[in-house]
Each structure stands twice: as structure tokens, then as C-alpha cells.
């Protein structure tokens, strides 16, 4: 089976009309007509992840995010960049193929990025979740205790919280990656991956800090992009396995990039 044939099967099974104008969901590296020996799914096709996929004998990487450090994977300013050349040459030398699935994953029912992210922080009931965020209720706890639970369950070292740790919370609103939802009257805690900190469409950081200063129980947990959006890529691997058999299909995680 070739990379192109894998992608054709994904398009056939994705359950939503395929949008050929998506600049994100395209081949990024390698020859689409190369034979696929194994498939690795990941949230971020980092150089480190690419190497681990190759060592595991998985030459096709299906990544949720970009390969070349900008959302459009625009490479015209990178042709002389040593890191670009090194990463590209490594992939080509090892006959690797990189294909991105972003926009269509968020259009799928369910959206595995949301399903996986809810599961990873211990919020139940999100098995059918879609991109449009809804509020999930957990047994009442404090923001600080909930954040400690998130730390324990995700193993994340570097996620950031805003709000009063002693605030009583039970209503959780989650959006993974850069899709951090805006705080609403119906939610106590917003969980996201990352978001512009200020001067954006809606600044959750300032809003939650001010709510806390006014004595209102609101919290914000910013997991980081990789930690927040990664768990669903394991679900995606399982889903691909329902219509592609005979080759290994594995979730190969990207590392949380941060230390503190």
C-alpha cells in the first residue's frame, strides 16, 4: 500500500466531505507513492518523533500539526535553512512520508482531539465530543485540587494555571490545542492548550485573573499544545486500524518540549 492509498482510504472513511482547499491536510514530505511499511500517528512531527518513528519501522507519519514550524508549512524562506535541510534529508533518506490531518480531524464526529483531551484530564462523558465545546460537570473540587489531578493524570511538567486555587469549581469547558474556548457564564474552568495571552479575540488570562480578583470562582488551565492535543492521536491510530489492516499502525507521542 502507498501513502496515497492510505490517504484515499482515510478520505473515504472520514465521514465528512473532503475539502481539497485545506492547505493544512496535505502531504508535507516524501513521495506519496512510496510503499508504506507502517504508520505512526502523532500530534507534532518533531525531528525527535520522526527519528523514533523511523527506528520503529514506521515510515509514514500522520501528524496533526505542521512539519516546518509554521502553520501553512510554507518553505520558500527555509530552503537554505540548515535545520530544514537536515530534517528533510533525514526523512527522504529513510523513504519517509509525512501527511497532515488537522482540519478534517476537527470536523469529524467525534473529534478525537477533544475526546482524548477530556479523557486525559479525567473528565468523563466526552466519548462523543466534537470541536464545538460543551460544559462537562465534575464532582465539586477546588481549582488547585483539580490542577493537581490534571498534573498527575497527564504527567505534564509545565502547564500553567490562572485563578484562585481555593475557588470551588465543577463545570469544565475544554478545547484542545490553540482552540482554547472563551470563558462563559456556564463554566468555572476553561482548559486549553495554548492561546495568545493578550490583545486577542478574547483574553481568557486577564478575564480569569480579574474574576479571581473580584472574588468570582473562575479558573484557567493551559496545558500546552502537545500535552493537550496529543491523546486523541492514539484514538486516531485505532480508528485508522478499523479500515487498514496488515501493516503496523502506532501512536508515537511527541515529547512535551518544556522544562521549568
Amino acid at each position: 500500500m502507498t501513502g496515497r492509498e492510505v490517504v484515499d482510504l482515510i478520505k473515504k472513511n472520514v465521514g465528512v466531505p473532503w475539502n481539497d482547499r485545506s492547505y493544512r491536510d496535505t502531504f508535507k514530505l516524501g513521495n506519496p507513492d512510496s510503499t508504506v511499511k507502517g504508520i505512526a500517528t502523532t500530534v507534532m512531527v518533531t525531528f525527535d518523533m520522526l527519528k523514533r518513528a523511523n527506528q520503529a519501522g514506521l515510515n509514514m507519519v500522520i501528524s496533526h500539526e505542521d512539519t516546518f514550524w509554521n502553520d501553512r508549512d510554507e518553505t520558500k524562506d527555509l530552503t537554505a535553512n540548515p535545520l530544514y535541510r537536515m530534517k528533510t534529508q533525514y526523512a527522504l533518506k529513510n523513504d519517509m512520508i509525512v501527511w497532515r490531518i488537522h482540519d478534517h480531524m476537527h470536523a469529524m464526529h467525534p473529534d478525537y482531539t477533544v475526546v482524548g483531551s477530556l479523557r486525559s484530564v479525567g473528565v468523563k462523558g466526552g466519548e462523543d465530543a466534537v470541536m464545538r465545546a460543551r460544559v462537562y460537570t465534575i464532582p465539586e473540587t477546588t481549582l488547585g485540587e483539580f490542577a493537581s489531578q490534571v498534573k498527575r493524570l497527564t504527567g505534564s511538567r509545565a502547564f500553567r494555571c490562572v485563578g484562585d486555587p481555593k475557588a470551588k469549581v465543577s463545570r469544565i469547558l475544554l478545547g484542545p490545542g490553540y482552540a482554547t474556548p472563551r470563558m462563559t457564564a456556564e463554566a468555572d474552568v476553561v482548559i486549553g492548550g495554548e492561546q495568545q495571552e493578550a490583545d486577542g479575540g478574547f483574553d481568557d488570562v486577564e478575564y480569569v485573573a480579574d474574576a479571581a480578583s473580584l472574588g468570582m470562582a473562575k479558573g484557567l488551565i493551559m496545558l500546552g499544545h502537545v500535552i493537550s492535543e496529543q491523546p486523541g492521536m492514539e484514538d486516531l491510530a485505532k480508528w485508522i486500524g478499523t479500515f487498514i489492516q496488515g501493516i503496523p499502525i502506532q501512536f508515537v507521542p511527541a515529547e512535551e518540549p518544556f522544562w521549568t
Partner: protein, 273 residues
């Protein structure tokens, strides 16, 4: 006394506008956001972001003009905005309470971003360098490069955290033990292209914020490629705070009639236990 009529907030902001020059379009980010411009000014506070905590401190200190670099009302619309804009709702409880506090305390909020960062002195960078104690290490004529006494990345990170009073907002990428000497300071947001162009000439970039799937991804890949460069993001507001201390010092010279002070917005983040 300074004459028959008291100096108003608007007298001060006109002086700021005349001194900084340029166009001040009503639709631009800079300008009044709340309060009555005809209020007699008692004192001026400059801050990176006019959070509730900053406003409480300003009021307590008897300053009634707050100059803020970032928005006051939770986004670029800086208040309620009709659809399709996504500003805060007019009946939002946090918005209402904040606005009410401003009115009761007699505060006036003026945003000053574009015209402050356009100054050739580049105070946002110089202010950050000063807070870090690195002013004398600047690699002239470059505005943003500093050759600091060599140390490991983890020691530099500890120093940054201490000197900027950071809590949970700082995150680092790269080798903890890498030797750092040349640092690039970039308060605010760093775009991918800036990093591609300038990373090779630095040991460490200290930025406010970046997009994690862009610059953080690049820094992680540079590390995998075996290069000893690091990236530290300290938070957008935390990175802009020192530049507004420089702004307060500038205001003190410009408006001698009333006191001007810096009120730190601080690091709004904490880490889970």
C-alpha cells in the same frame, strides 16, 4: 500651584500624544478606554496590563490615570463590540464589575502601545534588559543582543525568574546545561520568521510568547539536531512589564506636576502542586 485651572487627564494625554507624535486614529488601539478625560489628574500609573489588581493598587496609591500597554477589557476590542466582533458581552459580570470599580474610584484608562513601542529608544527591550541587570552587556549597535557573563541555561533561567519575580509563567526549551553567553531579548510576541533568521547568532532567546506549534517546535527540533540553543518564554505580560517601568520613568520627566509610578501587572500564572 500650577495655575488657575487644574491639570486634567486630557491635558496629560495631549502632552503624551504631542511628544510621541504620529497619527492617533480613533479606531487604533491607543486612546481612552474608560473614565472621564476631564478628570483633574492626581497621579499617573503605567502598567503592562490594567488588571483588576493593578487598578486596585492604582486607586490605593492615589493615582487616577492608568496608562496600559495591553487591553483592559479582555481582548483587542477592549470592551463590548457588535457582531461579528467577539468582544466581551455588555452584561458580562466581570466586565460590569471592573467598569463599576473604575467609575467609583474615579480612574481613567488610556492605552498606549503602538506609539510607545514605535519610539526609537526601544524601551520595551531596554526596560527588560534593565530589569535583568544586563543593560551594560548590550552588543551595540544591535538593540536586542546581550553578551552576558557565561552560565548554564538553567542558571540563567533561575536568574530570570528571580529578577522578574516570575511564578508559573516561565517555560524553557533546549539543553539545561548548555553554556549561554549571547542572549536575544524579544518582549511581546515572536514570529517564526524572526526566529529562523536570528536563532543561529544566539545561545538563548528570551521572548514573551510564541506559538507552540511554530517557534517552540523549531526550538525543540534545533535541540534534537544537537545545537546548544535555548528558548525561554516568560509570558507576554511579564515580558512587557519592565518596558512600562521605563514608560513610568519617561512620564515622570514629561509630567512634572503630578507623580508617575510603575505598577507591575506581575506573572498571572501559577503551577499545580
Amino acid at each position: 500651584m500650577h495655575g488657575a485651572t487644574a491639570l486634567t487627564v486630557q491635558d496629560v494625554t495631549r502632552r503624551i500624544q504631542t511628544t510621541l507624535g504620529g497619527e492617533w486614529p480613533p479606531a487604533g488601539p491607543d486612546g481612552f478606554k474608560a473614565g472621564d478625560p476631564n478628570t483633574p489628574v492626581k497621579g499617573i500609573a503605567a502598567t503592562a496590563m490594567a488588571t483588576m489588581d493593578v487598578l486596585k493598587q492604582a486607586s490605593k496609591a492615589g493615582t487616577n490615570l492608568v496608562i496600559t500597554y495591553e487591553p483592559t477589557f479582555f481582548g483587542r476590542h477592549d470592551g463590548p463590540a457588535p457582531p461579528p466582533a467577539s468582544g466581551v458581552a455588555v452584561d458580562d459580570p466581570v466586565y460590569k464589575a471592573k467598569k463599576e470599580f473604575i467609575e467609583k474610584a474615579g480612574l481613567v484608562i488610556f492605552r498606549l502601545r503602538d506609539h510607545w513601542q514605535a519610539r526609537k529608544e526601544n524601551d520595551m527591550v531596554a526596560g527588560l534588559a534593565e530589569s535583568l541587570g544586563w543593560t551594560k552587556y548590550r552588543v551595540a549597535p544591535d538593540d536586542v543582543l546581550y553578551d552576558i557573563p557565561a552560565a548554564t541555561a538553567e542558571d540563567i533561567v533561575a536568574l530570570i525568574r528571580k529578577r522578574l519575580n516570575l511564578r508559573g509563567g516561565l517555560r524553557a526549551v533546549g539543553d539545561r546545561k548548555a553554556r549561554v553567553r549571547r542572549v536575544l531579548l524579544h518582549p511581546g510576541v515572536m514570529a517564526p520568521a524572526t526566529m529562523w533568521q536570528r536563532y543561529a547568532e544566539t545561545d538563548l532567546i528570551v521572548a514573551g510568547e510564541v506559538r507552540e506549534w511554530e517557534n517552540t517546535h523549531y526550538a525543540a527540533d534545533i535541540y534534537t539536531a544537537g545545537e546548544k540553543r535555548g528558548l525561554v518564554t516568560i509570558g507576554r505580560v511579564a515580558s512587557e512589564d519592565p518596558g512600562m517601568r521605563a514608560c513610568a520613568a519617561w512620564l515622570e520627566m514629561l509630567v512634572k506636576e503630578v507623580p508617575a509610578r510603575w505598577i507591575t501587572a506581575g506573572d498571572l500564572y501559577w503551577r499545580a502542586a
